[in-house]
Symmetry: C2
Subunit: 317 residues, 2 copies
């Protein structure tokens, strides 16, 4: 059931012994929101914990400073920035998947698995949605709460770079800095620090870069051998896929990532006029206009690439 | 002579037939300010042009749309974001170096070459300084003026990522978006588009990456052979130098760039506790705590690197 801001404030004010769930493969927005909400509830004199089904990467440690887990039996379950209970991960889904009392989210694709849902799909980050709730509640936003919310807002908008960075997100960013968010250091940690393995993988990948259609298509291929040799993890490939579209004059960046058990996942990033979703649809995949994906069975990846490039040629002619 | 905002407005309101100068190796801030000021003056019914001593890179073309040069003899010369008349470049300095009537700037290092100087050194971008002037003047900020000012603000703050991105810069960013600056597309052009040659150089450079001091020092070497082979230009090396410090655990990133006529320029980027300026000082160079440089004569670059690394080892022990 979708609820309004009055109702979500009533629910938060009445909640006791709260467990806050965040999504798997955690990012700055889900963790920032979880931590901010946990700190607000504790400041109200309540017991609250925030958990995640995965191991939380060390670079988010600063969010959790002084936030030791409390020992209690949860009476109220809240999910933040979790569009689908599948995204809790298998372990947390098995325990809490059908017990989420309240979900606070900004994904238009939310599947409404929670008993009550507060959703604002025009927000670039759930942190923006949560900030608005806190303001309406009259919460005292301390520097560590501001830090957590700024982290969510900045990471989900690519540090205010993407098209989802509205003027409101800039204004809230300003307010959070004034409330004590250390924006410069947060952004160094979130955007300017990458593991050595990433750079090794990047080097190998760029080494094998291929271009087609007079430089309008760039193809990067990442194999399991490359992951093994560099020690990089498959998620580090996401930043590489985003990079494929950054080459000047490129209308379609294709990243072919070998899957652990063989076969390839194609990730397409496009500029106008190419529709990534349509291009991937021809091979049983899908996604958005500017970013989409499809699968290629083992040993067929080069054949599928050829077909894809021939389809792109047709689109461009 | 340093002047206040009342005086700068008086000067701008009285100026006629204005030539606006921007700095060599132009960036988004100097060009954005030049274009914004030119559009404001023309909207006041005056003649005005904005020029640069170098060829302006094509990616800034959108700033100049509809801003055809006008034919007139300049009566009033304004420099924007130019800290020193040397930075006009040889050609413009020879003609206008001692004739600049007004300089509007944000560099604390401004050498006060202009007859009158309006400086706000706490601003992260000259575009912020200029925006404040326009507001006080009651200028009608049209979408193309907002676009020019947003370009300056965003590029000089690393898209609101660096420590010079104050909360005021976020608030002004919000206002410019509301006034019609197309932030998403501007940031794609300024931050998410790089020439193919850059990626080729990056690939070659990362290929030869060396680490020292248990991964606390990363060394990247870029030779003239690599520039020739990839077609990349030496200025594209700056982004690579910045990248050297982004490797997790690295306290000092060293980029060795071969100079066109031989010998190497070392660029150091450091994290606490290493002082780049002190490290480079030992070899006759200098700069800031976090970014500094020094020169190495031809054929001595590896010897100097060894000494530098041994100095870093001492600092870290």
């Amino acid at each position: 059931m979708s609820i309004d801001i009055k109702r979500v404030i009533e629910l938060l004010n009445n909640a006791e012994d709260v467990l806050i769930l965040t999504h798997k493969n955690p990012d700055g927005d889900t963790l920032g929101c979880g931590v901010a909400l946990c700190r607000v509830l504790r400041a109200q004199g309540k017991r609250a914990n925030v958990i995640n089904g995965d191991v939380i990467p060390k670079r988010y440690d600063y969010l959790f400073e002084g936030l030791e887990p409390q020992d209690f039996e949860p009476k109220y379950i809240i999910a933040v920035d979790v569009a689908d209970n599948k995204l809790l991960g298998d372990k947390l889904k098995a325990i809490y998947g059908d017990k989420v009392d309240l979900c606070i989210d900004h994904h238009g694709t939310n599947v409404e698995y929670a008993k009550e849902l507060f959703l604002n799909s025009s927000d670039g980050a759930a942190a923006l949605t949560l900030f608005r709730i806190f303001k309406e509640m009259g919460v005292n936003i301390t520097p560590d709460i501001a830090t957590a919310l700024y982290t969510g807002l900045s990471t989900d908008t690519g540090c205010f770079r993407y098209s989802n960075a509205s003027s409101e997100s800039y204004r809230v960013g300003a307010e959070l800095i004034d409330l004590g968010a250390d924006n410069a250091n947060i952004n160094v940690l979130m955007f300017e620090t990458k593991p050595m393995e990433y750079f090794k993988l990047l080097s190998e990948t760029l080494n094998g870069m291929r271009t087609f259609c007079d430089g309008k298509v760039v193809v990067l291929k990442v194999t399991n051998e490359m992951f093994a040799r560099t020690g990089a993890t498959p998620d580090q490939c996401d930043a590489i896929a985003a990079m494929s579209r950054q080459v000047e004059g490129v209308l379609c960046g294709v990243t072919m990532k070998e899957k652990p058990n063989g076969g390839f996942k194609f990730s397409l990033r496009t500029h106008e006029p190419l529709d990534a979703s349509k291009l991937c649809g021809a091979f049983g995949g899908g996604g958005h206009k500017r970013a989409a994906g499809c699968d290629a069975p083992a040993l067929e990846e080069e054949k599928i690439l050829s077909q894809l490039i021939s389809n792109i040629e047709k689109e461009l002619s």
